[in-house]
């Protein structure tokens, strides 16, 4: 989230598309009902199904799964044609005026530089024209034919309301109504907020869906303002935190990257990171990368990380491929190339696409270790549960160790919510039986490894032997100790950079925040963006002052929000070029002549003059990007791409299947179906009564939604002779499931051009363990392919067939 849950009450229009907030985030959705009650805000829902969110919406429009980009580009096109643009914002705060290389272009659904062999683009043409002065060329009049604005205008011009209707199945009048409602928010005193979740991410072009809306929000001037923003609802309680701390194949904490093996040393690695500003006088915050990086290396390896050994640069693993994400790992596993695998509070057997492949992959492991508070299907993947898990137990040679861990109720620590609030919590109960904290388990594993390397030696033991481990109890580091490491402390006295005599933080003390990080090894901080969460003032994550001056929804003294307790990112964009709020009634921060002040922590140097420094300091341009240069693998603008399994051919290029640059593993390619075998579009989703695969273990939630079902329209039910509550069989090219049928008016077939598209809704939440009745998850059916940029599996749009099942399922 750029903003926060409580900030949503400041909006005039909520657009829920690619998500189902009321269903998946009811308590956050409260702030939508608040905006409606207090500001007379309106709620628009665009979704293939008439969801619980739609049930309280002011306007609902249906859309075909996987066609969001066409809808969003259609909206931008409508805004431009109807002059619903926040011009001052677009000119000054976006890269609309930047001039793009002549070689850049688009045709037949593809951008310049496509190589079908490599399934990749040569992105060199996707960039600005750089002048002799080393800065990007711009034309503030927006008249230059090659400026981003004109390229955008041309790019979206193809997405007429007619094309939207044809591609998305959204009736033209409904699309236009939505466009009008959204258009009103281009006014400086009207804001719109976007709430989205996996409905947008779980596509082979998920990242582009989100860019589409982000661009629309920029055109309307809604980023960085109260009641605006791009608000990813986020799934799990600390998935934000685990990503912040970098628990991903290619990440270091604080969104720094693991080096690739091409980056042979520190200098090479740094050269491509600490970007110089692309415009005179702009702030490019990533220029501080070395400070963050060195402080991280010191946190990992302490004294072993020294200037003379490139801060132990070679202790870090280096990647030969962009990422060893879950899809790649399970593909390797299925090839028999993985020996040991750990699942910490995670249930891949039901969470990853193509369950058949997942089961076969797990069966090829030597050792599977599951750390979980609950009995997961993954830990029991080898156990035969009839049709619900039909495996040949005896033939599975995988050894499985199931370790009982504590739950939230039994440990202390912090979690990061969607709004980046880091909230501390306390243990309330004794762990059941022999259950242990993950910190204890990880320590035990590490200490044993370390001992073995000390006693037996082995290849490159240095990173293990030198890992810092200065904890009171080496067997179980406390949450406090670890939280302090995340914040960082001074390893030597830290002085003011402008005044070397001014001591900022004495050796051994907690650092105030990341402004005190140094690249000379005098500071350590495990995760720079968390710096400030536990400084000498104490544990700021445990702050519980819920006062909210002038009801802005900021709650600055409640817990701690990264970075620097900032509640709304890019908040400088809430004010005009003179530093006055666009909307006085929604003042956030303003320029008082000397500095920025207001209700939030400025997202810019407090003394940076409004007419000099742009609001988007994490970009070397200082501005936001309507044109994303080479940052994304599948194009600087979003362009419509069909799902890999679609009932329709791509209108721009019938030959093109799915995302042309998405990674597809050889064996999975032949498992993609066509609509003549599998005529119906399926989409997966959550139900409000359940959380993922956890609450089926809960007898109350199990009673509220007891048994697996699929949702279909009355039309499809009639066509197939399916009765309400009857049992159906749903199958894709990868698997087959049985379920109860929920026949509803909330799903309607969509008319896409001359094709009538039926949608089948498949909720997750059921498996073969726990209190609820045994059932299946959508992943028995879904294709093994992910987003081109971040590899999020395509769960939201795939093809299936359906028929009434003979004989009831035994539950």
């Amino acid at each position: 989230m750029t903003n926060s849950w409580t900030d949503i009450k400041n909006t005039d229009l909520v657009v829920v598309m690619g998500g189902n907030a009321a269903e998946a985030h009811p308590c956050g959705f409260k702030w939508v009902t608040e905006a409606k009650a207090h500001r007379g805000a309106k709620l628009i829902v665009v979704d293939p199904r008439f969801t619980r969110t739609a049930s309280v919406s002011d306007y609902y429009a249906p859309i075909r799964p996987g066609s969001d980009i066409a809808f969003l580009m259609g909206l931008i096109n409508w805004m431009i044609l109807n002059d619903k643009v926040q011009w001052e914002y677009v000119k000054n705060f976006t890269n609309a005026a930047f001039i793009v290389k002549d070689e850049f272009g688009w045709s037949d659904g593809l951008f310049s530089g496509y190589d079908p062999e490599k399934r990749d683009y040569d992105k060199s043409s996707w960039d600005y024209v750089i002048g002799e002065d080393g800065f990007a060329q711009i034309d503030m009049t927006l008249e230059h034919p090659r400026c981003v604005w004109n390229l955008l205008k041309e790019h979206v011009s193809r997405y007429t309301p007619e094309l939207v209707e044809q591609v998305c199945g959204t009736p033209k009048d409904k699309f236009l109504k939505v466009a009008e409602m959204i258009g009103e928010c281009s006014a400086v005193d009207k804001t719109m907020t976007s709430m989205y979740a996996l409905g947008w991410t779980q596509h082979s072009k998920g990242a582009q869906n989100i860019r589409g809306m982000a661009m629309l929000q920029l055109v309307l001037g809604n980023i960085g303002v109260r009641g605006g923003g791009m608000n990813a609802l986020r799934g799990h309680s600390n998935i934000q935190g685990l990503t912040d701390v970098g628990l991903m194949s290619n990440l270091l904490p604080g969104y720094m990257n693991i080096p690739t093996e091409k980056e042979k040393d520190w200098t090479t690695y740094m050269s491509s990171r600490s970007f110089k500003p692309l415009r005179p006088g702009q702030t490019s915050y990533w220029q501080n990368y070395p400070k963050f990086m060195v402080s991280f290396m010191k946190a990992m390896w302490g004294d072993a990380a020294r200037a003379d050994n490139d801060w132990a640069f070679h202790y870090l693993p280096k990647l030969d491929v962009p990422t060893y994400d879950i899809l790649r790992m399970f593909d390797l596993m299925n090839e028999g190339k993985i020996t040991n695998y750990f699942c910490q509070g995670f249930n891949p057997l039901l969470s990853f696409p193509n369950r058949g492949k997942v089961t076969s992959a797990l069966s090829k492991l030597k050792l599977l270790v599951v750390m979980d508070p609950l009995e997961t299907e993954t830990a029991h993947f080898w156990e035969n549960h009839g049709e619900y898990n039909d495996v040949d137990t005896a033939s599975i040679q995988t050894e499985v160790i199931e370790l009982p861990t504590t739950s939230f109720a039994e440990d202390d620590g912090s979690l990061v919510n969607s709004g980046r609030w880091m909230q501390w919590h306390w243990a309330a109960a004794t762990p059941p039986g022999q259950a242990k904290r993950d910190t204890w388990i990880m320590s035990q594993i590490f200490l044993r490894m370390k001992k073995m390397y000390q006693d037996e030696g082995g290849p490159f033991p240095d990173p293990i032997l030198n890992l810092t481990w200065n904890y009171k109890d080496e067997n179980e580091p406390s949450a406090e100790e670890l939280a302090k490491e995340l914040n960082g402390r001074a390893l030597a006295d830290v002085f003011d950079l402008k005044d070397a005599t001014k001591l900022l933080t004495a050796q051994g003390k907690q650092l105030l925040n990341f402004s005190q990080l140094r690249d000379d090894g005098s500071t350590m901080s495990a995760c720079w963006i968390y710096s400030g969460s536990w400084n000498e003032e104490g544990n700021n994550m445990a702050r519980r002052d819920n006062s909210d001056p002038d009801d802005t929804g900021a709650f600055l003294n409640w817990s701690f929000a990264w970075p620097l307790n900032r509640r709304i990112l890019y908040n400088r964009a809430s004010a005009d070029m003179q530093g006055k709020a666009w909307d006085p009634s929604r003042k956030l921060i303003e320029w008082n002549g000397e500095k920025w002040a207001g209700y939030d922590v400025p997202d810019i140097a407090p003394t940076a003059k409004p007419d000099e420094v742009g609001p988007f300091i994490m970009n070397p341009e200082g501005s936001s990007r309507l044109f994303s240069r080479g940052m994304m693998r599948d194009g600087p603008f979003p362009t419509h791409m069909e799902p890999f399994e679609s009932p329709l051919a791509n209108v721009f290029n019938p030959e093109m299947r799915g995302n042309p640059v998405a990674r597809v593993f050889a064996k999975d390619a032949d498992q993609f179906a066509t609509s003549d075998e599998f005529p119906f579009v399926a989409t997966s989703y959550r139900l409000t009564e359940h959380f993922h695969y956890w609450t089926k273990h809960n007898r109350i939630n199990a009673a509220l939604q007891p048994e697996f079902f699929v949702e279909i329209s009355e039309e499809l039910a009639a066509e197939k002779g399916i009765t309400k509550g009857g049992t159906v069989r749903v199958w894709s090219k990868r698997g087959s499931i049985t379920a109860k049928a929920l026949v509803s008016k909330r799903l309607r077939p969509l008319q896409c051009g001359d094709k009538l598209v039926h949608v089948i809704g498949i909720p997750l939440h059921w498996g073969f363990m726990g209190a609820a009745r045994k059932g299946f998850g959508p992943n028995s059916l879904t294709p093994f392919v992910g987003d081109a940029n971040v590899e999020t599996p395509e769960f939201k749009a795939f093809l299936v067939n359906i028929e009434p099942a003979t004989g009831e399922v035994v539950s």
Binding site: T33, V56, Y60, I700, A703, P706, K724, G725, R746
Partner: protein, 329 residues
């Protein structure tokens, strides 16, 4: 319970529940009506009438109320099968005091599809039919704040409350044969907390407080709905049962039946009134009269006796039809 004047704020409870032991502020002295106890002493004091307002237009049907209800009341609803509907359990049960009911409605006027979701449960009538029908003294009581509560120690499980209720709410347990329904969390209200469902409700579709304030809040909500094009938005606080302490804001107040058959004009059935009224009193009177009458008649009227004469007549009759005795010796 919230005393927050600005009730449309999302704050349900002004404070978190107390954990220090404290005396319940709701007891014998506050009972205004009790089943089968006609001559009940006047209550010592009058509590502020409370109410739970359910704003159907804000409800997202998430079932948090069901969940919170089960947890607070320590009931464990059965894990049933999916029968092609969203209602789970499929009906109110002795272990599920409240239930979200879902109905799909195509609005003929607007042509729009609407998903109408209503939280069903005890309405806590001002004139409770269950209490009227109940034969067990003190098994159903009504407190002066309007809460209608079942005192299970006194319940005999006859199910008369079911026949008495205009909303089909009470359910008799198959295991302990006692009748159960929403208590409006009388135990929470007694220590100044709102009901568990109201506290949990994510969108504040359920709010709880003094009925007066709730009516005021409801009117604001109705105004908002009208501004959004629901001309027939209104309050459902049925007169037929003297008003209720659980009431609704509906977008289609003119057609309550749309909301999974919410009765348009609920009232205690005349049949039940007849049974519990005239039949009960007159019936007993007649029986009494008959009993007494016959006793008196028995005492004062001459009994119908058989005379010696009649005995002889009988003997003659028998003799005549039989041979003389001597012959038989």
């Amino acid at each position: 319970m919230t005393m927050d004047p600005n009730l449309d704020s999302p704050r349900t409870a002004v404070s978190n529940p107390p954990i220090q032991p404290m005396k319940a502020n709701l007891g014998v002295g506050d009972v205004v009506r009790a089943s089968a106890m006609p001559d009940l002493p006047k209550p010592e004091r009058q509590l502020t009438p409370v109410a739970k307002l359910i704003d159907v237009s804000k409800c997202i049907g998430c079932k948090a109320c069901q969940s919170a209800c089960a947890e607070w009341n320590d009931t464990v609803p059965e894990i049933e099968h999916n029968v092609g509907m969203f209602e789970n359990p499929h009906d109110l049960t002795p272990d599920m005091f409240t239930l979200m009911r879902f109905s799909e409605f195509e609005n003929p006027e607007t042509g729009n599809f609407e998903w109408l979701i209503r939280k069903d449960g005890c309405m806590h009538c001002e004139d409770p039919g269950c209490l009227k029908a109940c034969p067990a003294p003190g098994a159903i009581v009504q407190y002066s704040n309007g809460i209608v509560d079942f005192i299970h120690e006194n319940c005999i499980g006859c199910g008369y409350c079911i026949t008495g209720c205009p909303f089909n709410i009470p359910r008799v347990s198959k295991t302990d044969h006692k009748s159960y329904k929403c208590t409006l969390c009388s135990d929470r209200v007694a220590v100044g907390q709102g009901p568990a469902c109201a506290k949990a409700c994510p969108t504040q579709a359920i709010v709880f407080g003094a009925k007066e304030d709730m009516i005021e809040h409801a009117n604001m909500r109705v105004a908002d709905l009208k501004s959004r094009g629901y001309e027939n938005a209104g309050i459902y606080d049925p007169e037929g049962v003297g008003g209720t302490h659980v009431f609704y804001v509906l977008h289609h107040a003119d057609q309550p039946e749309l909301y999974s058959g919410l009765p348009a004009n609920p009232q205690i059935s005349p049949v039940v009134r007849g049974w519990k009224g005239v039949t009960k009193t007159i019936g007993l009177a007649i029986i009494g009269a008959a009993a007494v009458g016959s006793i008196l008649h028995g005492l004062f009227a001459r009994a119908n006796r058989v005379s010696a004469e009649e005995e002889r007549e009988a003997e003659h009759l028998v003799d005549r039809s039989l041979p003389p005795r001597d012959e038989r010796v």
